[in-house]
Symmetry: C2
Subunit: 218 residues, 2 copies
DNA sequence: GTCTATACTTGGATAGAC
DNA sequence: GTCTATCCAAGTATAGAC
């Protein structure tokens, strides 16, 4: 019932404040974790008053979800264009590696993990987070389908199942690399995956370029 | 410096209390998550006074680490015997599937994930948790080595790297299945892995029984 | 819309009676 | 060793001045 100040379009200053708060929330989640994401802590980093969290978002939980929404749409914009360029399995693995490395470096992966793990502690947060993670899994699934299509591979490698595993691997690698501060171990996994993807290219019979689907494999 | 009441061996009652507290801590971490693991909350579930957390463990953080230690050694006992029986890759995958399913059901996986993710919020907790996670990765690595040994597989599949990926997958699957309450998706991954493991059996030339290493592959 | 001030709750931690 | 009582810091959330 009733967000905040009904409908009159928000002033520029209000937009700035909301933005400062969501940005601060992101940083706290990334660097200090879920249980440090308090109204006071976030407002302090945003350089504004603690009460504004409740004025603009109603509750800390809503602010955290707004921050997650923010990250999700940023990511969506960044990567859905890249997905359109993917043709061969090795393209896909390369894209996955790029996504993972970027998310690892800028802290988006950490943020997501904190929200998922933190959801256990706050009743009602779980379903909200779930709704925001589903698109990520769907993204991975669509990516796989676009590459595996109806090739013989789809039988041994059901895209839905693999997508689930990829996302899980992504989250788990983030957990571990965040814990021991070692990016390299995680990145090594994707390096290895790139090698294996070359095999998959052969099995599927990689189309050499974008508009050449009339041709058959050699 | 100085744990608690120096050295005289603790009374039976004290042992009971410590145990009640670690047990309660485990349950809170499993079912309510890291940021619900407070001294008051834990003591309430243990049926004793909040002050006893500090008398016996000095701080909440120490209690949580004691709980994690507890789980780690339980697991160690349960699974290291089983590892000795592993010969073929498919044995290993079967063991991994069993471990994962049990940890998923009894909440050990959830507990570990909460501790890792929660470590971001508490300075100093990270290194302590890391020290307790390392044995799990080592376990996976040794398991892989015992099966892959110096077969041709070790070249394409470096045990250390794969062990890291397996543990990451384990943690990530827990995160996802805890979030959406769906065990099946996670268990399906291991089902699929079992199928693939049969191939690996062939490549390595599985020894048919325990004491038959004199024989060569057919 | 933003700030100050405040009410109220919960959490970590200690002192002292038993 | 355990409990009661208590201190103090930090949390959510709201009211009211500006």
């Amino acid at each position: 019932m009733a967000k905040t100040a009904s409908k009159s379009r928000p002033s520029a200053r209000a937009v700035d404040t909301r933005r400062a708060l969501t940005d601060a929330a992101k940083e706290i989640l990334r660097f200090e974790g879920f249980s440090a994401a308090t109204a006071r802590n976030i407002a302090a980093r945003a350089g504004c008053n603690q009460g504004l969290v409740f004025y603009h978002f109603g509750s800390v939980m809503n602010l955290l979800l707004a921050a997650l929404d923010d990250v999700s749409s940023e990511r969506r914009e960044r990567y859905s264009a890249a997905l359109a360029e993917v043709r061969r399995p090795s393209d896909l693995v390369e894209l996955a590696a790029r996504i993972f490395q970027e998310d690892l470096d800028n802290g988006d992966a950490a943020l997501l993990v904190e929200m998922i793990a933190g959801a256990s502690s706050t009743p009602g947060l779980g379903t909200e987070v779930m709704a925001r993670v589903a698109p990520w899994t769907d993204f991975a699934e669509n990516a796989l389908k676009s590459v595996v299509d109806d090739s013989p591979m789809a039988a041994i490698v059901p895209p839905g199942e693999i997508a689930h595993a990829i996302v899980a691997l992504y989250l788990g690698l983030e957990l571990l690399s965040h814990l021991d501060g070692d990016r390299q171990a995680a990145l090594g996994i994707f390096k290895r995956a790139s090698q294996l993807a070359s095999f998959a290219d052969l099995i599927i019979g990689s189309p050499p370029a974008l508009e050449d689907e009339g041709k058959d494999q050699p």
